[in-house]
Symmetry: C2
Subunit: 260 residues, 2 copies
């Protein structure tokens, strides 16, 4: 006697790629944790309600507690037959206002948001001014005293290319290789209405744990004249986390986009 056909046999499994925006402030980070609310957890809960399936969502990489995203990419598999535009709309209604699915598309079953990622772009916002900004408070690090941005630019340029970034990796990982390639760096003044707001953008083929925040913390020391731009080479060569500066706060960090 054969088993009756299940719903899963009738409706083929599909793979969905989603691009996400989130305000990381209220979350313990991307990944589901024993305590605290995670971005992954909120999306998985909503998908469970919408699809009646247990859905696992995989991102291009974890983001830490308090880190934001303008273009995090993730994938998940489901047998749902919902039309995709309505599926996205219903999902957004459940996860608003701190998470938003900017786009949703069906992709080949083998697409993997983490393993297929080729490059990532991060941006870190620094408000370099004595006057706080009400609207950028959740989204930037306020450094009141003027920084030497030319020195920061010179120091950042030394990081471009393929290097062992072990000195900029926070503890708690067990990676085989700490070599990554930074494609380019850029400092931008963000808005005409925000003359003191600077964005440091870094694109690389991958990032170590808290690598951007450790780089930014070091760059602020450079901008304060406490570390010379030429010392950056020595810090890289030391392959020792203690040689670099402290991690910059999570609030200023945005995952901008992931390329495949």
């Amino acid at each position: 006697m054969s088993h009756p056909k299940s719903k899963h046999d009738e409706h083929p499994l599909k793979n969905y790629k989603i691009v996400l925006e989130y305000d990381g402030t209220p979350y313990c980070g991307w990944q589901v944790q024993a305590k605290g609310q995670s971005i992954q957890g909120v999306i998985q809960e909503a998908l469970k309600k919408l699809t009646k399936e247990k859905v696992s969502v995989t991102a291009s990489g974890r983001t830490d507690a308090g880190v934001h995203a303008l273009g995090q990419v993730a994938h998940f598999k489901s047998h749902t037959t919902r039309p995709i535009a309505r599926f996205q709309y219903a999902l957004n209604a459940m996860i608003a206002p701190t998470i938003s699915v900017k786009s949703m598309e069906e992709v080949p079953l083998e697409f993997h948001a983490q393993l297929d990622a080729k490059n990532k772009l991060y941006s870190y916002l620094i408000l370099n001014h004595t006057v706080p900004s009400v609207f950028m408070d959740r989204f930037s690090w306020q450094v009141p005293k003027p920084l030497n941005w030319d020195a920061i630019h010179a120091a950042l340029e030394i990081l471009v290319g393929e290097h062992d970034f072990k000195s900029f990796q926070s503890v708690g990982t067990d990676l085989k290789s700490t070599v990554r390639k930074i494609d380019w760096v850029k400092i931008e003044e963000c808005f005409k209405d925000h003359p003191h707001l600077y964005a440091i953008q870094i694109q690389a083929n991958g990032f170590l744990k808290q690598m951007v925040r450790n780089i930014i913390g070091t760059m602020v020391q450079v901008g304060q004249g406490r570390v010379a731009p030429k010392d950056i080479k020595k810090i890289l060569e030391a392959k020792d986390r203690r040689k670099a500066g402290p991690a910059a706060p999570a609030r200023g960090l945005f995952l901008i986009s992931v390329q495949y």
Copy 2:
């Protein structure tokens, strides 16, 4: 027997003009109320602690609960001898992160933030898209279906000039004249990263109670094809609040600047 000299005799009274930025979301509005936290109340409390005086802060006008400001102007008088830069810095430290004093200057004693205001500029943000925006959620009204922006533009132009705006005044005021002059209106797409975010800017020599929100609510009806642009003239002439559309939500409204 004469009274000993008080501190107030020694230190002359000064008048301070401050320009304020605030996120109106958590407040019951500008003005101190029996219930709820007000922007005026938070600033007055901080000034009391800093100056040991009972300080009254007068703004260019009240803003409603939930309305934001990029450039609200206010004045207050104090005998304090604090150097002005430090005074501003200390005040900002006490009222952050939802209120910020962008600038502070000493002005002649007769300067009055409300009575001397010549023009005000408001901006209202509409996110005209099905996908919500995490970062603009507190600061815009999401209208999912596409609006006819040409019709809105045509309707707005009819409001420019001196008119009796009684149809756009909410109940609860007892003004002698409801005539105001709108200097200009403008629709701007705000950010390159936000192609669906529109700012409707209105500058006038004064605004009636909830006038901007009542205009915007009516404009959205125009954009939806429910009110024709040519009907705006009839709505003005009716001088009847019931002829115009409902008030748009407070979250999208910003007081941008006040001219003296």
